[in-house]
C-alpha cells in the first residue's frame, strides 16, 4: 500500500531563512506525490506535484520540492521563509489502484517567526 511519512510534527524557522519540510514515501510502482497547505480554518490548497521528469518541482507561493528516488523523499523547500507561510503542510501520494485516492501524511506545522 502507498504511504507517506512526515517525521516532524513542527518546523520552526526565522523569517528570511530557508525552510525544509520533510516527506518520505513508500510506493509500489511510480510515485505521484503532492504537497498541500492548510491555513487556519481553511481547506487544503494545492502547492505542487511530482509526476515525472525534473527532480526539482516548482509550485505556488515560491515553494519547490526535491524528489529523490534513492532516498524515497520528496522534501518541500523555500529559499526564504515568510511569516505568512506559517501553516500546516501535508504530503500526499496518489494511490495507484482503484480510483486513485490521495493518501496523506500526518502533517507538519510550520512556524515562521519574525
Amino acid at each position: 500500500a502507498q504511504s507517506v511519512a512526515q517525521p516532524e510534527d513542527q518546523v520552526n524557522v526565522a523569517e528570511g531563512n530557508p525552510l525544509t519540510v520533510k516527506c518520505t514515501y513508500s510506493v509500489s510502482g511510480n510515485p505521484y506525490l503532492f504537497w498541500y497547505v492548510q491555513y487556519p480554518n481553511r481547506g487544503l490548497q494545492f502547492l505542487l506535484k511530482y509526476i515525472t521528469g525534473d527532480n526539482l518541482v516548482k509550485g505556488s507561493y515560491g515553494f519547490e520540492a526535491e524528489f529523490n528516488k534513492s532516498q524515497t523523499s520528496f522534501h518541500l523547500k523555500k529559499p526564504s521563509a515568510l511569516v505568512s507561510d506559517s501553516a500546516l503542510y501535508f504530503c500526499a501520494v496518489r494511490d495507484s489502484t482503484g480510483f486513485q485516492k490521495l493518501v496523506f501524511g500526518t502533517g507538519t506545522r510550520l512556524l515562521v517567526s519574525p
Binding site: 511510480n30 505521484y32 481547506g43 487544503l44 494545492f46 501535508f90 480510483f99 485516492k101 496523506f104
Partner: protein, 115 residues
C-alpha cells in the same frame, strides 16, 4: 479561478440525527471525493464518485454514509445517524480526470460537531 465550495462551514448536531453536507465541485470536473480530518489527525479518504456511482470507498464509509449528486452541480454527503466519533472536518474535492497525475482540488471544509 474556479474553486470547490462547501456548505455549511460549521454544523452542530445531536447524536443520532441525520446531517447532509453539501459541496459544489469545480464545474468541468468529473471525479468527486470526500475526505475527513478528525481534530489533530491526518486527512483520511472516505469515498470517490464518478458517473453517478461510488467508485471506491474506505472502511470508514459504512452503511451510515451515503453520497449523491442530486442535480448535476451539487455533491452531497449524508450521515444517517450521527455518532460522537463522526465529529470532524469534512472536505470535498474534485478532479477533472481520473489519472494518477491529475490534481484534486479541495473545498474549505465543513466542521461537523456531534453532541
Amino acid at each position: 479561478e474556479p474553486e470547490v465550495t462547501q456548505t455549511p462551514s460549521h454544523q452542530v448536531t445531536q447524536m443520532g440525527q441525520e446531517v447532509i453536507l453539501r459541496c459544489v465541485p469545480i464545474s468541468n470536473h468529473l471525479y468527486f471525493y470526500w475526505y475527513r480530518q478528525i481534530l489533530g489527525q491526518k486527512v483520511e479518504f472516505l469515498v470517490s464518485f464518478y458517473n453517478n456511482e461510488i467508485s471506491e470507498k474506505s472502511e470508514i464509509f459504512d452503511d451510515q454514509f451515503s453520497v449523491e449528486r442530486p442535480d448535476g452541480s451539487n455533491f452531497t454527503l449524508k450521515i444517517r445517524s450521527t455518532k460522537l466519533e463522526d465529529s470532524a472536518m469534512y472536505f470535498c474535492a474534485s478532479s477533472a480526470l481520473r489519472g494518477e497525475t491529475d490534481t484534486q482540488y479541495f473545498g474549505p471544509g465543513t466542521r461537523l460537531t456531534v453532541l
